[in-house]
């Protein structure tokens, strides 16, 4: 009987130590996970900001002007207005 009790105490002790080690290890893993996700979120946010900046630059009038200069499109064309507006409409097919 005494032997059984002694073995049980030892087993419980080993189980508690193992659980403790497991919990300690898990908490460190989780902490690392939290850290990594936070860093990733920050990186994504910064990438988003960079992409938004690039998109806005390529759709800006400033960029269009630079390209127009490069391609020699520097003379603005005047609109052509019809004297008779009906010319602009497509005749209906009979």
């Amino acid at each position: 009987m005494r032997k059984i009790i002694a073995v049980s105490i030892w087993l419980t002790f080993i189980f508690l130590v193992a659980t403790n080690v497991f919990l300690f290890y898990s908490s460190i893993k989780l902490s690392d996970g939290i850290n990594q996700y936070e860093i990733k979120i920050q990186e994504l946010h910064q990438k988003n900001i960079n992409l938004e900046k690039e998109i806005s630059y390529f759709s800006s009038l400033k960029f269009a002007q630079e390209k127009a200069k490069e391609l020699n499109f520097t003379v603005s064309s005047n609109p052509v207005n019809f004297d008779k507006l009906e010319y602009a409409f497509k005749p209906s097919i009979q």
């Binding site: 908490s27 939290i34 910064q46 960079n50 806005s56 759709s59 009038l61 609109p79 207005n81 507006l85």
Partner: protein, 552 residues
Amino acid sequence: MKIKLLFLIFILFYLAIIVRLFYLQVLRPRASNNQPYLKTEKIVPERGKIYDRNKNPLVLNENSYLLYLEPKKIDKKSKLIEKLSKSLEIKEASLEANIDDSKYYQAIQGGLNEEKKKEIESFQLKGIGFDYQMQRFYPEASIAAHLLGFVGKNETGDNLGYFGLEGFYDKDLKGLPGFIESEKDILGRPIFIGTQEKVNAEDGRDLVLTIDKTVQESSKNVLKQGLEKYQAKQGCIITADPSTMQILGLVCLPDYDQANYFKFSEDFFKDPAISDLYEPGSIFKPLMMAAAIEEKKIKPTDSYNEDGPIKIGDYSIKTWNDKYEGKISITRILEKSSNTGMVFVGEKLGQGNIFKYLQKYGFDEKTEIDLQGEMVGYLKPKSQWYPIDFATITFGQGIAVTPIQMLRAFTSLINGGKLLKPYLVQKITSSDRENIIKPKVERQVVSKTTSEIIKKMLVSAVENGEYHWDRPKGYQIGGKTGTAQVPIAGHYDPTKTIASFIGFFPVDNPKIITLVILKEPKASPWGSETAAPMFFELAKQLIVYYGMTPEQ
């Protein structure tokens, strides 16, 4: 004996642990900054962005970094100084003088972009670090510098909007900071079973403007060319939708580069469109004419005998060219911009009515436009007015107004008589809410009938005026020129003028009203020869942009 000694050691050991725990948990406050494991960090919110009416970005944020040094960790000081001074373009001597070896942290330079950060990191020097920051980015450069304002720092080093929209909407744009309270181990990792509290920051609200970036860009180009061509000191172009008083474009030159605002003097930051006072001159005449028609003191079919200068006390009022046409119609008074004709209109209207209408047009109050730094015009108390003041006010002298006040008052003449509040932000958006700002009618100034009459007179003023401009063919445009002399030390300087033109189109249902002002143009002092051609050049571009079909 040995067992007892071991027992005593254990007891002492446990007692030591209990005393230490008691000290840490009870005697020392838990949330103290001295806690070695509990760290609190501020989460800085992202400042709100600013878009034009078509959701094109005008102001965004970009990543930037603050370079700092940890002098105690530096091992190769001379190499660090040499490399940093080259990279940051700072003189070696001043960088060396700035490094204080007794300090743990020293900020060196903010606003560094990612390329610069990578370049400095590649030096692989000890004692260098970077703090992440965000700064404003302007995709269209300084397309609307006065309008947008800039972001600087306050006395505690936090971001603060100055001037324009950044200043006016600072509270909406800056958002609310959050914080992270976290217990961390010796390696800086969060302790999972410890305190972990996070309150997210609330990013600033975005602004959607009434500004159209194409109108803004066209206005800026026309103004830039106009300033060079007419050698003017300063100029402004303001364009609005007369039915709502939404501002479509607002530009004044010279302006400044918002990204490098610290390189400019404070004089450049003030927006002349809302902060500068000037005498409006002849563009004021239609306001008085409309008041007289509204009060039924004159009719468009009436006539006036323009037979020479008018004497008021010691003063003599002449026409701008000292030429007199005899019997002319009321419409002709505006067409030829007759000062003596306007004195006649003013006499018919009466002193009480003149003052009443100046107040109705809002010249004694701010327009309450949503920009920081608006000034109110100068309208002296009625008790201080002399008869000559009531005469000169009819042609826009003896009163000081801001360009935005002038535009608002004139708009009421062509939109059915409504005096509207001018505004620039039509929508304020956050992640969960959208606040739409609607036009606000302040009061009815003149009736719809008067408005229609004055519109026709203004079309006639453009078509039959003293000067023939290169107008867009097939379109009816109404407008009025103005040339005001600049008062200096109690008298008017004939060599210095403020030339202006205010015009609108299409006439039946105006969609565009534009005010062009040039300060002290040297090529010609007249509004008809400087500001008016600029207006028609802009009108041609806007007609194409908005796809307006010819009316005639």
